[in-house]
Amino acid sequence: MRKVIYAINTSLDGCCDHTKFYPSEDTMAYFTQLTQDAGTFLYGRKTYQLMVPYWPGVAKEDPSDEFARAFDAVGKIIVFSQSLDTPKGEKTTIVGTGLRDEILKLKQEQGKNILTGGVSIPSQLAALGLIDEYRFVVHPIVVGEGRRLFDGINLQENLRLKLVESTAFKSGAVALRYLKQ
């Protein structure tokens, strides 16, 4: 069974808005590694449109950008959206309904990890108990406004996780790694 991993950059006050703070070189390298270990991306519309066509474009223009190269090498992108209908490129599939069944099916397939990001889709997945591993990269900043981690999550009860490791980076960011309990 393949693992579903949720990885996200967040400020200390839980803001995930990419325009409010910037990843450092060391946290970028951390995401490059996660991306290299992934075979499938799982996104909602907003995160998908944030990543594509931007990163494939960077990969084309600057092949020395390791994150862009890793991103471009991931073979499959699943986008959960009810408003998108035309996928850009042959590796992208748009799925409108049946999030749970689609994930369970994907997990059964052979291959590398399934990596998800953003806020809305991961929150739904977390509430359904479908995320196997969490990577929170906490940046040393408080930003105030912006989209929150797990914003709108609908939990029946508190979701307890198991801490596996915490890694402090030179930049002052800390990567917290948890498993589903």
Binding site: G144, A168, Y178
Partner: protein, 182 residues
């Protein structure tokens, strides 16, 4: 706090917060070096209902005895618009001029002033840029809703991560920061 940034549930629930002997020992070391504790009214009243006599109970643990002794000796500062400090030992109430009052205390000689829990007081102090550092214990849990640690932030605050940051066997991670620019 929880992984999603809450220090209590929507109704003040704190039953999800993990503490064990390892954490008590670790936290106790830093606390014992401070001579001043700062609380909001709600947290202070919770403390006051428990700690003054917790060390005298027949079932008291080592931690209960130590912390009770520390609590009774430490100078307590309480932020409250409604309380009066008449008759309280070793306790000062700050009800107005928050910035001046806190700055005055910061000028005095002595160790760290530790602010415990107290989300409402924390929000007021953050807005006045009066907090110099954050000592956070991140619990391995997502609450979905609750009382956030950070609220009413108008300007970004940058931090420097201190190297003491560590993880505990119970799954809690310590994050220790000093404010590096705001």
């Amino acid at each position: 706090m929880s992984l999603d940034g809450f220090v209590a549930g929507p109704n003040g629930e704190m039953d999800w917060i993990k503490v064990d002997e390892e954490m008590f020992d670790y936290v106790g070391k830093r606390i014992s070096e401070g001579d001043t504790a700062l609380y909001g009214r709600v947290t202070y009243q919770m403390m006051e209902n428990y700690w003054p006599t917790a060390g005298d109970e027949p079932t008291a643990s080592k931690h209960d005895i130590d912390h009770s002794k520390w609590y009774n000796n430490v100078h307590k500062i309480v932020l409250s618009k409604t309380m009066k400090d008449a008759g309280l030992t070793n306790t000062t109430i700050i009800s107005d001029n928050l910035a001046d009052s806190i700055n005055e205390i910061k000028q005095q000689a002595g160790g760290e002033i530790l602010l415990f829990g107290s989300p409402t007081a924390t929000h007021s102090l953050i807005q006045l840029h009066l907090i110099d550092g954050y000592w956070l214990f991140v619990n391995p849990i997502i609450l979905g809703q609750g009382i956030p640690l950070f609220a009413g932030i108008k300007d970004k605050i940058k931090f420097k991560l201190l190297t003491t940051t560590r993880q505990f066997a119970c799954g809690v991670t310590e994050l220790n920061y000093i404010v590096d620019g705001q």
